[in-house]
């Protein structure tokens, strides 16, 4: 039986990889404007949309204009989401009569979905209406993924150009990401889910009487479409409170495989798309290799620890051969749940099929580390941007080490780019550790806040996890944390904004600056960036920046809890 569980995991990874390579080639064709599969259907629609919006999609923009346009349209989405969430009580399509959100909860939720994070301080069953699920939250799941991919497309363009200021059109990249990639694949995923038991209906809650005569309700809704883009766009916000652990959101092992492949495929494909776009496939495989090593170093221990179970429960003398089943579902089993817990944290999905708060202490540490490094695969589009920052750092450092000019893709990396990269790399630990320190101070001085669901070091981990998840734009949680309070809503909301847009602005600026520089042809003195050696340097930079700056906090949380066994 154990073998079928392991075989399931390996298959999910391999299917995602095999689909991602052709998808990467397709995405590269779409962004370089070559002819591609959906031209006939989507081409006319895109032209219609642009004409109706008064947008000239052929007009190229420099990196600053890309940013202006990106930030403006994101602000429009934020205001729209605020309006929908604070007024959902009286807006149409509310069969269950759910109330409007409070201002601070709406603030957190709107930002969280705009920035592709999907922290959820509400539960979908009672906290959102069908209208806000569809036209508020699911809308943002599409466009936030489109934004991340469009930003990555601009960086691709900048790396390809010899010497150029104009780097394509943001609206063009954005809309094509949605019409050519996100929408068609979402339709396929949603249909697979619907035929395997996920509801897609506009009817409200059902009331039933159980076999033993209890009266209970069943929350329904347009779930399948939501869950499809939730994974494909690496958003992760669940339709239901229990996310993909819910037996209607994720009814079977088959749907679990579908949702797993759906969340892996675009982060994988973007790496290969970069390789096809730049015609540097070796470089793409180097990136993918580093990411995969990091991923496996986190995932394999988690699978083992979850399968081995909780030592405290073993001590009670019962049979724990199925693994640590607290917070897990029988149809997935401990192995697939442990695997998912790292996939969802290395890429910024943040959907869960088991409750992370109840995973083993060091599994929790690996989930945290996955978000703290935030560079292995990463979210739709932004994953490759985060990794780009680490590449810039690694090029500079290894350039100094071997006494060669730090060059990347024929462009000199100089002090200005380094400063930006360093600020972005340090922003992440700064936001996480400052937030956690303030919250820990708050809870020590006013212990009557009913924030924590667990005592001691695990309680500390709950707070650390929340800020890590916010800053990594991940969205999963140690959900025991009582986080629907003004403090958590507002503090994580601010971190979400900073940690989404600065790490987009930084790489776009670096890429824009590099694109304007003089192209230096490769020579014998050029640092090779598509080799295993360079991969090791990149990995070391990630490990040093991420693991070491977080070690003290991890020691207080999961490591201390582990030592208490």
């Amino acid at each position: 039986m154990m073998n079928t569980e392991l075989f399931g995991i390996v298959t999910m990874f391999m299917v995602a990889l095999l689909l991602a390579i052709p998808l990467g080639r397709y995405i590269a064709r779409v962004y370089s404007g070559e002819r591609s599969l959906l031209d006939l259907v989507m081409g006319p629609l895109e032209r219609l949309f642009f004409r109706a919006s008064g947008i000239d999609s052929k007009r190229e923009m420099d990196w600053k204009e890309h940013l202006k346009v990106l930030l403006t349209i994101n602000m429009v989405w934020f205001l729209w989401a605020m309006f929908v969430l604070t007024n959902q009580g009286w807006l149409p399509w509310n069969p269950d009569g759910n109330p409007s959100m409070s201002a601070d909860l709406a603030f957190n939720t709107a930002i969280s979905f705009v920035v592709n994070c999907n922290l959820q301080h509400y539960s979908g069953e009672s906290g959102a209406t069908y209208f806000s699920q569809i036209f508020g939250l699911m809308f943002l799941q599409f466009v936030s993924a489109g934004t991340g991919m469009a930003a990555a497309a601009m960086v691709f363009n900048a790396l390809k150009q010899r010497t150029a200021a104009k780097l394509g059109n943001f609206y063009d990249y954005f809309l094509k990401s949605m019409t050519r990639v996100l929408l068609p694949i979402s339709l396929v995923v949603a249909v697979l889910l619907m035929f395997n038991g996920t509801p897609q209906t506009v009817e409200g809650k059902d009331s039933i009487v159980t076999l033993q005569g209890d009266s209970v309700q069943v929350s329904r809704g347009p779930v399948a479409g939501f869950v499809a883009i939730k994974h494909l766009g690496t958003n992760g916000g669940g339709y239901y409170g229990a996310n993909s652990a819910h037996p209607l959101e994720n009814p079977s092992y088959f749907t679990n495989m579908v949702e797993m492949v759906a969340q892996l495929i675009i982060p994988f494909a973007m790496v290969f798309a970069l390789g096809f776009y730049l015609k540097r496939k070796r470089f793409a495989w180097m990136v993918f290799g580093v990411m995969t090593v990091g991923f496996l170093l986190l995932a394999v221990p988690n699978i083992i620890m979850e399968v081995n179970g909780n030592p405290n429960i073993t001590a009670m003398g019962i049979d724990q051969t199925t693994g640590a089943m607290e917070g897990k579902e029988v149809r997935f089993g401990a192995a697939a749940s442990g695997f998912w817990s790292i996939v969802t944290t290395v890429i910024s999905t943040g959907s869960v099929n088991a409750m992370h708060d109840s995973t083993m202490p060091l599994s929790g540490m690996n989930e945290l580390l996955a978000m703290m490094t935030n560079a292995f695969y990463g979210g739709a589009g932004v994953g490759i941007l985060n990794f780009f920052v680490f590449i810039v750092l690694a090029v500079f450092i290894s350039g100094l080490m071997v006494g060669r000019t730090p060059e990347f893709m024929g462009k000199k990396i100089e002090a200005r780019e380094m400063k930006i990269a360093m600020i972005i790399a340090l922003l992440h630990p700064f936001l996480i550790l400052t937030g956690t320190a303030l919250a820990a101070y708050g809870i020590t001085h006013t212990p009557d806040h009913a924030w924590l669901n667990n005592p001691g070091s695990h309680g500390f981990s709950e707070m650390l996890y929340e800020y890590t998840s916010a800053s990594a734009n991940n969205g999963s949680g140690f959900e025991g944390l009582g986080d629907n309070t003004p403090w958590w809503n507002i503090s994580t909301g601010i971190i979400l904004l900073l940690s989404r847009f600065l790490p987009i602005i930084g790489p776009l600026a670096i890429a824009g600056l590099l694109a304007q520089k003089k192209y230096i042809p490769e020579s014998a003195g050029t640092l090779k960036t598509d080799t295993g050696t360079f991969g090791v340097v990149v990995f070391a930079v990630i490990a040093i920046v991420a693991a070491l700056s977080f070690f003290p906090a991890l020691a207080l949380g999961p490591i201390a809890e582990y030592l208490s066994f």
Partner: protein
Amino acid sequence: MKQHLLPAIKLTLICLIFFSGLYTVILLGIAKLTPNGGNAGTVDHAGSTQYTNLAQSFTDDGYFWSRPSAVGYNAAGSAGSNKGPTNPDYLATVQARIDTFVVHNPSVQKADIPSELVTASGSGLDPHLSVKAANVQSQRIALSRGLSQDVVHQLIIEHTDGPLLGLFGPATVNVLELNMALDAATK
């Protein structure tokens, strides 16, 4: 900023219609073609509708018990316990569940109680048991219903879903379907 605002608003409206509206409508149409017509899977039981994919509370000795639920088996909501693995209150709860199980199943050795029977599921609505967690309850049920244990075992085997295609994932037993089969066998 200003000259970008109007195109941004217009494009947003169009995207709302297309990616939220049309996408949902297409899926609602296709949903009508699915076996459940867009609803979750249901089955008719003595004139009442039952959702096969959602756990129910079973406390009677004559029924297979579901896994513990943090939401009282009410699918109006969903959640896990979110208790950490070293939390003393949580460990006391698990111990109490073991004790209760032993009282109701006096012939079962403690070492044979699978942990999933005494730990809360992730959703609070887990509709399944492992084969082991079903078998370990069979003697109590046989006794309570006056059936032979072989009949109960046979029912478990009939209601076991093996791994997907025989290759992927664990085998499961749907508690509700098994209990409905029990009712039918006892009539």
